[in-house]
Symmetry: none
Subunit: 252 residues, 2 copies
DNA sequence: ACCTGACTTGCACGATATTGCGCGTTCTGA
DNA sequence: TCAGAACGCGCAATATCGTGCAAGTCAGGT
């Protein structure tokens, strides 16, 4: 990883998200935080960012709605993302489902991690473009713009031809009694197919998803291997999951 | 291994990957790093790369701030995009190839145009998410992060199952004598398949692409229906295209 | 055949850049 | 106010760089 290459990457991330976190960059590039700070200092010296405690901000305060929206994501979803990234081992093959949380997870995967990602979300593929050791396979099909995912029979068939070590599932609702459920029949079918083809199931969920249900079943609670939740999730519900044998990770 | 041969190889690698590492090149060519550095110095002298500690980067790929690059895009590419959008009729099915120009075109398509878009570029699908009347079909397969496109046999097969009215082709080079050509063998094969399956061929090209050639043929000049160029394109070359029966549109 | 000069290459060596770590300081949130 | 996180600085280890130099290659001329 060349120094200038890191600078370029930081510049891009600043332009896209409006901010960068030093610890996160260190993880992403697999270098020490000292070096990250040096990079940020250098960029700040030429006016390409503003240094703040914990990282740096884009010099132009506001680039519009995208930066704001991403900022809101970064708070709760990025901490989920870091925990999920820790569950991924090198050389594994993983399904990454659609959804804004999963997009954040894809972005947070260590930049040099050597894995194979299979995804039906075009945005996830795009986000992984600067992960040089990540082989990305796109599941094609009818693109649903509400979900940001490829659905339909074509996608289903493609999924059924892949077997993955891990599935990172996008969730509409997750409840101890009914398991994972989805708002849409077709979406649910795609998700079920991915569950079917995966050895382990990881379910990242923000607090608002915990304890809620949706009409279409995706997977029983017993099928969940890892549930990753934010720290503001309901403690009682979490304990119920634990009692049912699910490994629950609480993101800080 | 001749010196110029090495230079060509480095140029190609820079174009494909955006960076080269001195130590890797030394290993690859089985020569000393000194010689590699001499090569990089020479290329940097004529502006074909930027030297950085550890290797070299593409001279001005997509660096700087994204805002800058988008600004530069908007100038020339948006005007291309508007012309191309005018060639699309409602209810048509079109292939949209990968490439930054095509991404700009997708974004510039009228927001409520009722069309079906088939694309092997995840970024194009994402860009079309807010076009409510646009049905989008994604071509899956092995994702090539340098091109931002899905390639490989899977993509090829998917393409061969679709017949489109129009193909908006991403170009590496377009020349009156050799037609459209691409930098990469596999990329060229995908493009040829799309040409094969399309009734009409639209080639948008910024001025720097006009009159240039790349190693792998995609389509003869006679196959081009519409060539859309920016107004700073070479007038003589444009006239040659017109003389060969190509409809040339000059974007204002 | 032999020489010559231009060019290329690898090596040695001193100079410079980058990186991670330790340590004391500063900042932030409870 | 206090603990912990983030920070800056200096240092030592390493990696990379530039330059000078000698050996090797090769085409062209004698």
């Amino acid at each position: 990883m060349l120094t200038e290459e890191r600078h370029d990457h930081i510049r891009r991330k600043l332009a896209a998200e409006g901010k960068v976190v030093a610890a996160e960059l260190a993880l992403e590039f697999d270098i020490s935080e000292d070096t990250v700070r040096r990079d940020l200092r250098e960029l700040a010296r030429v006016g390409e960012c503003r240094r703040v405690y914990g990282g740096a901000l884009s010099p132009a305060p506001d680039l519009g709605s995208i930066a704001q929206r991403q900022g809101a994501l970064v708070e709760s979803k990025l901490s989920l993302a870091r925990v999920v990234a820790g569950l991924v081992a090198p050389e594994q093959t993983l399904f990454v489902d659609a959804g804004s949380t999963n997009l954040a997870i894809a972005q947070a995967l260590p930049r040099d991690l050597a894995i194979t990602v299979v995804t039906n979300a075009p945005a996830v593929a795009t986000a992984l473009a600067d992960h040089p050791n990540c082989r990305t396979m796109v599941i094609g099909g009818q693109f649903n713009s509400d979900k940001g995912a490829c659905l339909g029979s074509h996608a289903l068939r493609d999924i059924q031809r892949v077997r993955a070590d891990l599935l990172i599932l996008g969730t509409c609702g997750v409840d101890p009694r009914v398991g994972v459920s989805a708002l849409d029949a077709e979406e649910a079918e795609i998700k079920r197919a991915m569950v079917e083809q995966s050895r382990q199931l990881v379910v990242p969920a923000t607090a608002d998803k915990i304890g809620t249900t949706a009409p279409f079943d995706v997977a029983d609670t017993s099928r969940i291997d890892h549930l990753v939740v934010t720290k503001d999730a309901d403690a009682v519900t979490i304990d119920t999951f634990r009692a049912l044998g699910v490994t629950v990770h609480v993101a800080p």
